[in-house]
């Protein structure tokens, strides 16, 4: 058994307002190993985005801890990359400059930066758009930039917070398939994916393992291994079996 890449141990998160405690997450505990593609699903307001922000170190947990490769996670860990629901692209930077951002922060010289950014811009199908600005791109293309930016730092763990939620259904489905294609290529990063979504179908379509959270406070209801072969077909009864099962766990 390989050592886990990520260990989330009894993470609890509360907000305090006028002395009153609002618990958002309660005792979340799971592990991620290499070659894991894990989706966290739950109804809106279950704290799943907060959980992801804690896991990448953008927010501290109230109690519990997150270990990445055995040590406490830091937001600027270059082995962990984040894709945002809102894309979070810098409007004044070109596609290439946005993709190079993490590499620039690591102090990689401009030449290498360019080559590496180029590789991932090509990988997400944006060849020729290097010098475009985000405002000139469609939503789907923007998220491809977000994805290329995350992959460019060649992370071990890729975290995605509802990456397809602000896209139209067709674009979202194309991007899901492309993520799976990239994932199937072992030469490309990352080694593991952790994704948060409110769409059960999306989770069953993508993940090897689905973590189901209850609503307010978010508690772990189940951790399910989705053993369907890829490519998965949404029309197959097995697929729907999983969707129905998760659905019944949430409601």
């Amino acid at each position: 058994m390989e050592a886990p890449l990520l260990e989330v141990t009894d993470v609890t998160k509360s907000y305090f307002e006028n002395g009153k405690e609002f618990k958002v997450l309660d005792l979340i505990r799971f592990e991620l190993a290499e070659r894991d593609f894990v989706c966290v699903v739950g109804p809106s307001g279950c704290g799943k985005s907060t959980l992801l922000r804690i896991i990448v170190g953008l927010e501290p947990p109230t109690s519990g801890q997150v270990l990445f490769e055995g040590s406490p996670i830091r937001a600027d860990n270059p082995q962990v990359a984040m894709v945002f629901q809102s894309f979070a692209l810098f409007p004044w930077l070109t596609v290439a400059q946005n993709v190079e951002l993490g590499l620039e922060a690591q102090g990689i010289p401009p030449e290498d930066r360019r080559t590496r950014a180029r590789k991932f811009i090509d990988a997400v199908g944006l060849t020729g758009f290097e010098n475009a600005f985000p405002r000139e791109l469609s939503g789907g293309m923007k998220q491809r930039v977000g994805l290329a930016r995350a992959l460019a730092i060649e992370p071990l763990l890729l975290c995605m917070d509802e990456p397809f939620s602000s896209l139209d259904p067709l674009t979202a489905q194309n991007l899901r398939d492309e993520i799976l294609q990239l994932w199937a290529n072992p030469d490309l990063p990352p080694k593991a994916v952790l994704m948060v979504t409110h769409s059960i179908e999306e989770a069953v379509y993508l993940a090897d393992r689905v973590i189901v959270l209850s609503s307010r406070p978010g508690r772990m209801v189940a951790e399910l291994e989705i053993d369907l072969p890829r490519p998965r077909n949404r029309k197959e009864p097995e697929f729907y079996g999983w969707v129905d099962e998760i659905y019944s766990l949430i409601v």
Binding site: D76, M82, A88, P91, Q97, E104, A105
Partner: protein
């Protein structure tokens, strides 16, 4: 009624202008270009000083709401004092610092301009930094962007629109401050520096007032302000509105 008064004012102004340019210009009018240039340099200097301290402070305040909790109210009170009210203090300080009348007049003129201009920059820039969307700051943090790279890629570009708004207002206030800053009537003999504000002041304090020079000086100022707005700020602002606008 209002329109009638407005029309009257405009027509009277036009007649005045036509008469002004039909008669030979007063000999003092030859001083106008030089005066305009030295006023401009003085304002540019005050603007540069204002930029040098407001940009870092705004960045700090905007990014540390908790740390700056006690700083902002102090600054707001300071900003509420009009530069004209500070005039005696500034002149006193300038006299103390330079110990001679000529340089003191120069120093106090720049300082008064600075005190008129700086707050517009500061508060606009603070708003600009606070306006950086959370997701952009989080992206910067999670990709490990800090120090110079953070300033270059995130902070400074995000400040551009508010810097322009602040600059336009600050320069407006600066031109306004010239009137009180270049001539100090309450000292005897009144110290002064060359500039549009000074020309305007002596034309006004003359007995009888030198209406031609008042008009010419104000016209000169209007031309410079309009030119700066049209040729500098407007184009910059239009570009910035496209490139540096953050979608929320």
């Amino acid at each position: 009624m209002f329109i009638a008064i407005l029309l009257l004012v405009v027509v009277a102004g036009m007649v005045g202008l036509v008469r002004l340019f039909l008669s030979p210009l007063p000999p003092e009018a030859t001083e106008l270009p030089r005066a305009a240039a030295s006023s401009f340099v003085r304002l540019a200097l005050a603007y540069a000083i204002a930029l040098a301290w407001t940009i870092p402070l705004a960045a700090w305040i905007g990014r540390n709401p908790r740390g700056s909790r006690y700083v902002t109210p102090v600054l707001e009170v300071a900003a509420s004092l009009p530069a004209t009210a500070l005039l005696p203090i500034i002149v006193g300080f300038a006299l103390f610092a330079t110990a001679s009348l000529g340089p003191a007049a120069e120093l106090s003129a720049v300082l008064i301009a600075l005190f008129s201009m700086q707050w517009y920059l500061l508060f606009n820039l603070i708003a600009g930094v606070r306006g950086i969307p959370d997701d952009l700051n989080e992206a910067a943090r999670s990709f490990g962007l800090r120090g110079r790279a953070y300033w270059r890629r995130v902070l400074l570009p995000a400040m551009v629109p508010s810097l322009l708004t602040g600059s336009i207002t600050a320069w407006g206030a600066g031109w306004n401050a010239l009137i009180v800053s270049e001539y100090i009537p309450f000292l005897n003999p009144p110290p002064h520096v060359s500039g549009l504000g000074y020309l305007l002041d002596i034309a006004t304090f003359n007995k009888p007032p030198d209406n031609e020079m008042i008009l010419l000086t104000i016209l000169m100022m209007i031309v410079i302000v309009l030119a700066m707005n049209k040729l500098l700020w407007r184009p910059l602002y239009n570009r910035a509105a496209v490139k540096y606008r953050v979608e929320v």
